[in-house]
Subunit: 217 residues, 2 copies
DNA sequence: ATAAATTTTTAGACTAGACTAAAAATAGTT
DNA sequence: AACTATTTTTAGTCTAGTCTAAAAATTTAT
C-alpha cells in the first residue's frame, strides 16, 4: 500500500463517521486537499483492490478489509501522537503534522512495541480513542460542552476540531484534557457561556463550546 | 527533497567514505539496487540542485551542501536505531530496515527532541558514529580484529558490514558492542583465529574478523 | 594504435499520482 | 417536463522515478 492509498483510506474512515455512510468524491477531495477527479481515480483503484465499495456517481465507503487497514493507520497516528507528547514533550498542537508522516511507517512489530512502551494508552493527546490491533475502538460517551445546562459540572474529554491554532489558544487559557468545567451562565441569544475551569472564570463563544467534548460527572 | 533524492545522497555519503572520492554510477546503482541509467538521471538532477558535483563519465561526489543534507539523514537514521534498541528493545539486527523509513521523517524539532530523549548518544547500536546537527562526526580510531596480533586484548567497538544475518549470528554467540576480545591464536594459512570473548573461547573465520572493529586497550 | 570489452549516457516507454478541461450524469427549479 | 446548475467522471497532460535497449565514451587488451 502506498502512502497516497493509506491517506485516502484514512480520510474515508474519518468521513464515514463510524456509521459507514457513503462519502462523495468532493467530500473526499476536500478533506485531502486535492481535486474530485483525483479522488475518482483513487476510488476506482481501491475498489479494484476490494478495499472500498464504490459505485459511480453514488459515492464510496470502506469495505471491512479497508476499514481494518484504515484503523491501523489511525492507530499508528494516535500512538505516535502519544509518544510525541508524553515522551518528547511536544505540545498537543505540534504533533498532528509529524504523526501524519509517522503513521506511514511500515512495521507491525514497531507498532506493538511502541504501544507497550507507552503503556497501551486508550486515547491520544486530543482525547480521540486509539483503535486496538483488530481495529476496535472503545467509545467513551461524551457530549458537547455547548449542550451542558447551567450549573452542570463536567470534565474535558476531547477536542472536536484539532486545528493547531485552536489547540494553541486552549493551552494558553490553561484548558487541557481532564480540566474540570462548570457552566456558570449561558447567554440564550448567542449561546456564549461563562464557565469556571480549574478554578478560573472564563467567557467562551459558541464556536469554542461546540468544539469541546465533556463528560458529566 | 524527496525520499529518492535523500536515499541517493545518503548512498553517496557512504560510498565516498569520508575522503570525498568520486563515485561511479554503477557503484551508486548497485548500492541502491537500481540501474545505472536511473542513477545517471538522479545525479543530473542533484547536480542541477547543487547537491552533487557530477561530470559526465567521471562520476559524482557530494557538494558541501549535499554532504550536510546527507549527514542529517544519517544522523536521523542512527538516532532512530538507538531509539529502537534502547527504548523499544529491538535487537540490533532488526532496526536497520525500520530506520531506513524513519530517517525520512521531516521535522527538525523532532530530531533534536529525540536526540535529547536518548541522552545525546554519540554512536548507534552498530558502533557507527552519529553526526551532530552540523554534520560533524567524532571519529574514534578503531582497527580490524583481523589485524590484531596474538595475545592482544581489545574491546569490540563496531561492526563493518551490518548485514542482518551476520548481526544475528554475532548475538547468538554473545558477541556485542563492548565485549572484551583477546586473540589467542592466528592460523597463518587462512587467517582464522581463536579468540577469548567475555570469558568464552571461540574459533572465528577471516570473514568474521575482517568485519569487526576493535579498540586496543 | 586499433580493436574489443566495459561503463556510462541517452532515448523511449512505463506507472503512480496529480491536474485541467470537457463530457456525462444527477439534482434542483420553474 | 424541460431547463439549469451542480456533481462526477473521463480524456488527456504532467512530473518523479524507474526500466530496457541502443548509442556513445572510456578502459583494457592485443
Ligand atoms: Mn498521512
Ligand atoms: Mn489526535
Ligand atoms: Mn531510506
Ligand atoms: Mn546502524
Amino acid at each position: 500500500m502506498t502512502r497516497a492509498e493509506e491517506n485516502y483510506l484514512k480520510a474515508l474512515y474519518h468521513l464515514s463517521d463510524h456509521n459507514d455512510a457513503m462519502v462523495s468524491t468532493t467530500e473526499l477531495a476536500d478533506r485531502l486537499e486535492t481535486k474530485p477527479s483525483s479522488a475518482t481515480d483513487m476510488l476506482q483503484k481501491l475498489h479494484e483492490k476490494s478495499l472500498v465499495a464504490y459505485t459511480k456517481y453514488k459515492g464510496a465507503k470502506l469495505s471491512s478489509e479497508g476499514r481494518k487497514k484504515a484503523s491501523q493507520i489511525v492507530r499508528k497516528h494516535r500512538l505516535w501522537e502519544v509518544f510525541l507528547v508524553d515522551k518528547l514533550n511536544f505540545g498537543w498542537e505540534e504533533v498532528h503534522e509529524i504523526a501524519e508522516q509517522l503513521e506511514h511507517i511500515k512495521s507491525p512489530e514497531l507498532v506493538e512495541r511502541l504501544d507497550e512502551f507507552l503503556g497501551c494508552p486508550t486515547t491520544d493527546p486530543h482525547g480521540d480513542p486509539i483503535p486496538d490491533q483488530k481495529g476496535h475502538v472503545v467509545t467513551i460517551s461524551k457530549s458537547l460542552l455547548a449542550d451542558q445546562p447551567v450549573e452542570s459540572s463536567t470534565i474535558l474529554m476531547g477536542i472536536k476540531d484539532s486545528d493547531a491554532d485552536f489547540l494553541t489558544y486552549l493551552s494558553q487559557k490553561g484548558i487541557k484534557l481532564g480540566s474540570c468545567i462548570t457552566v456558570l451562565e449561558k447567554e440564550p441569544f448567542d449561546q456564549s457561556m461563562t464557565i469556571e475551569i480549574d478554578g478560573q472564570t472564563l467567557f467562551i463563544s459558541k464556536t469554542l463550546s461546540t468544539n469541546i467534548y465533556v463528560q458529566t460527572l
